[in-house]
Amino acid sequence: MIFIKNRKRRLVIIGVDGVPYRLIRDLSQTGIMPHTASLIKQGILRQMASSIPEVSSVAWSSIITGKNPAEHGIFGFTDLAPATYRLSFPNFSDLKAPPFWYHDPKRRSVIINVPSTYPAESLNGVLISGFVALDIERATYPKTLIPRLMDMDYRIDVDSQKAHSSLDLFLKHLDQTLKARIKAYRYLWENIDWDTFMVVFTETDRLSHFLWDAYEDPSHKYHQAFLRHFSQIDEAIGEIKSRTNEDDSIILLSDHGFERTEKNVYISSYLKNEGFLKLKKPSSGNYSDIDHHTRAFALDPARIYIHLKGKYPRGSVEKEDRDKVICDLEALFSSIEIQGKKVIKRIYRKEEIFFGPLSPYAPDLVLLPHQGFDLKAGLKAKEPYGKDIFTGKHTQHDAFLLVSDHSDDDIMPNNPSVFDIAHIIGRLCNGNTTPND
């Protein structure tokens, strides 16, 4: 029998966006991340499955709620508003399931930079939203904290546009963003009497998008810069660990993995060529131009929707024809090859991966690519595939989870996924599972 303590236990959650299991293991072994290495020794490290699709908004929303996208409502960074072609960017107000910090209102939480938590909403504690957040004012709860953050030169995210003009400038801003984030965590750590403390470092993901090739290639001009960033992250992890007490539990995790991009593949381009997708003005690339002849269209990164009659203003596929269209799409996507390589590894039907009351809003199909292919909706793309300055892309199977605690040791699932985290958090906090399970 498990003894349930009444005293509140402190929990620290450190997120590192887009860091693969492979990388955290390798860099701790090679001495670049010594603090992480000692944390691994204390706890259990496992490879973790991300959400489908493997993008931060879906993954983090699943992490903090423990729910399926068809329960929490976040299916991607973009969505079409119901019964329209309005491409909207769902945010925290669209999240339909409560994140863990509302599970036990008596616990005070500090939540820093979790993606898709903008605009900030009131809680017992402090919240600073992460990407995508449009202004610091609405990204901060309580607002009294704003002048403090301004003093620290706090930034929600590194300005990604910078990298297009200069990688050096991008690295400089990345560094400044990380330093400001560290200042903010220190301030809140010291000034709030918290029970749960969560901070996510998103710089790792940005860096990997632009410079994954630098990580893999020791002779690359920015190889050392890449490693330096991870050793800074490691120092932050070490510092946080050194500030915890014996009784505190620590979770270190990422939301998805990373690998090298060989090609960007634009799904809409295939849909257009095969006659599934018709735009009123072929060059425009606006969702508002979807024509009534369209049978299917795609949203980023690789979500496919059947253009059903009654569901969309110009929808034309009858309900009874849906299966046929799906089969045709499966045939198309399982056959595509680029330079002799198969592009799609797996095609998920909605029924296989989305469970919950919001499944009518879920994509009908989600594609998962073979290694190296970065799938994009690419409504504007003129070619079926291409290459740009990005050298790294997300992976679904290769996130990681590390739990270090002093309670029972069966808390770590054998094959963890992002959907398990809220449950683990619940157990670590008070031995309870999340409500309404």
Binding site: G18, S56, L87, S88, D159, S160, P301, D388
Partner: protein, 508 residues
């Protein structure tokens, strides 16, 4: 499809002034940027994030995905979809066009505001002239607009050069379009002497420049509809077409056995007075600010306006718009009609073969609403040549003479006088004016004959005829481009006016 031609139905929130462009995301790098960069490259996965100021409930979305036709805030009106209760500010609202437009827009349900500092009234007074159609004081105009037409205008007496007060008013009203008429409109006035040239250029150029900064800081999403003039282009003697401000994509420069595309570049300007130079300078200032700050503007290269009629200004004597006939502020057709009314020979300068573009007052108003209804893209500097047709000054005089004598029984003579200006009086002319009809579905409704007839009707009223008589001595020019001050002399009096063929005005 509706009965109206909805030229703006496919425009989206991208064009709408009620949008707040909040930032950009690039999901390939999970990257966000709060700086909107103009390089919205077509094949990229970069999205613009926008919020609707009128309907915050829509959340954050891609502004290209709601069209005017779909948006409930844009409602079907005679000249395209119009924003419900759209806020339009008219700078120079007391002027010939400003006042007429205020009532025209008010009549369409637009929330009109405006500023003026009565410069025009003072300049006319300074020359010893007056408007021959009497106009009321502003307070009375506003009162009459409310009581006769039910139109409430939010007016403030402000000099556009007073940036602090202008900024305050703009911040208060938050206009969704700004129509900028507030300049000195007179070429001869700018040629009187150094003081006048400097006054015109300061007022026009610096006034507009200050406005651009205010818009950048306070209302960057608002469209600026700025008045230029066809006179900015001059009349190139090569006879090359006078494009709408910007070379078309297939224009080519050939030289030294080599070729370059000119597509997208500003076309040459060859202004014809210091006033016109001020307009050219404005063109560059507006063009640059669209480039630097993503402001959005239509530069309206307006032909010569003529006429007195819209249903609103004709509704009450106190609502009339001004009408000037002196050498500085009178425009050519308006002057001809006034001259015909008092038996003063219609004076054409030089050979009278100058070709000019024209547009009736009411048609100009229609154009303005269509431009307001269909705002440019962020960062777009658009140009329209606004005219409904063109013809020679001489044939215009003949049309006026014909209507005056045949319909109103007047004895009308035409005289050629020395040309005080430096301009070609015989030249080729091929203006292009396709944008308004093609992009904005503009169709002229008023024929020159019809408007000239209406002008005779009004100007032959005894009290107005009397006011023309009083200022008869100010009709013939004495402001020479050379700097001389002496009356022009008559070259020839044409007694036998040939009336046929009648339709000498080429309507498009």
């Amino acid at each position: 499809m509706s009965a109206y031609s909805m030229h703006n139905q496919d425009k989206t929130c991208w064009n709408c002034p009620a949008i707040d462009l909040a930032g950009m995301v690039d999901f390939r790098a999970c990257g966000q940027s709060l700086q909107i960069s103009k390089a919205r490259s077509d094949d990229s996965d970069t999205y613009i994030l926008a919020r609707c100021k009128r309907n915050p409930g829509l959340g954050v979305y891609d502004p290209t995905t709601i069209t005017f036709a779909e948006c409930p805030e844009w409602i079907e009106r005679p000249y395209g979809y119009l924003l419900r209760d759209m806020r339009v500010m008219i700078l120079g609202i007391d002027g010939y066009l400003g006042w007429t437009l205020a009532l025209w827009l008010g009549n369409l349900g637009i929330k009109v505001s405006g500023i003026d500092n009565y410069n025009r009234r003072n300049w006319v007074k300074e020359r010893g002239a007056h408007t021959v159609v009497p106009i009321s004081r502003m307070s009375e105009r506003l009162h009459a607009a409310t009581s006769v037409l039910g139109i409430d205008i939010n007016f403030r007496e402000i000099d556009i050069m007073d940036r602090a007060r202008l900024a305050e008013f703009i911040d208060e009203v938050k206009p969704e379009a700004i129509v900028h008429y507030a300049e000195c409109p007179s070429a001869p006035y700018s040629m009187i002497d150094a003081e006048h040239a400097i006054l015109v250029q300061e007022n026009n150029v610096l006034g507009t420049l200050g406005l651009l900064f205010i818009m950048r800081d306070l209302v960057p999403e608002t469209s600026l509809i700025k008045l230029g003039t066809m006179g900015e282009y001059g009349t190139p003697l090569t006879g090359r077409p006078i494009f709408e401000g910007i070379f078309p994509a297939d224009a080519i420069l050939k030289w030294d056995n080599r070729e370059w595309s000119l597509g997208g570049e500003l076309t040459p300007r060859d202004p014809v007075s210091f006033y016109h130079v001020s307009k050219v300078q404005d063109t560059f200032n507006v063009y640059e600010s669209c480039k630097y700050w993503w402001l959005r503007s239509y530069d309206v290269m307006q032909g010569v306006i003529y006429g007195i009629h819209t249903d609103q200004v004709a509704a009450d004597e106190r609502l009339r718009t001004r009408f000037d006939i002196d050498e500085w502020f009178g425009t050519v057709i308006n002057r001809f009609v006034a001259q015909a009314v008092i038996g003063f020979p219609l004076s054409i300068y030089g050979a009278g073969e100058q070709l000019r573009g024209f547009i009736a007052l009411e048609d100009a108003m229609q154009c303005m609403v269509r431009l307001i209804a269909s705002p440019p893209d962020p960062g777009q500097y658009g140009v329209v040549n606004q005219m409904s047709g063109y013809c020679s000054i001489r044939s215009l005089a003949e049309t006026v003479a014909e209507i005056g004598s045949q319909e109103f029984g007047l004895t009308v003579r035409i005289q050629r006088v020395e040309n005080p200006r430096v301009e070609a009086d015989i030249h080729p002319f091929e203006p292009i004016y396709d944008n308004l009809p093609k992009e904005f579905a503009f169709q002229p409704k008023v024929s020159p004959e019809m408007e000239i007839y209406r002008m005779f009707e009004l100007l032959t009223q005894p009290s107005i005829k009397q006011r023309i008589e009083e200022k008869k001595h100010l009709i013939l020019p004495r402001t020479w481009w050379s700097g001389q001050k002496k009356p022009v002399e008559t070259l020839e009096v044409i007694d036998e006016v040939e009336y046929a063929p009648r339709a000498k005005v080429y309507l498009s």
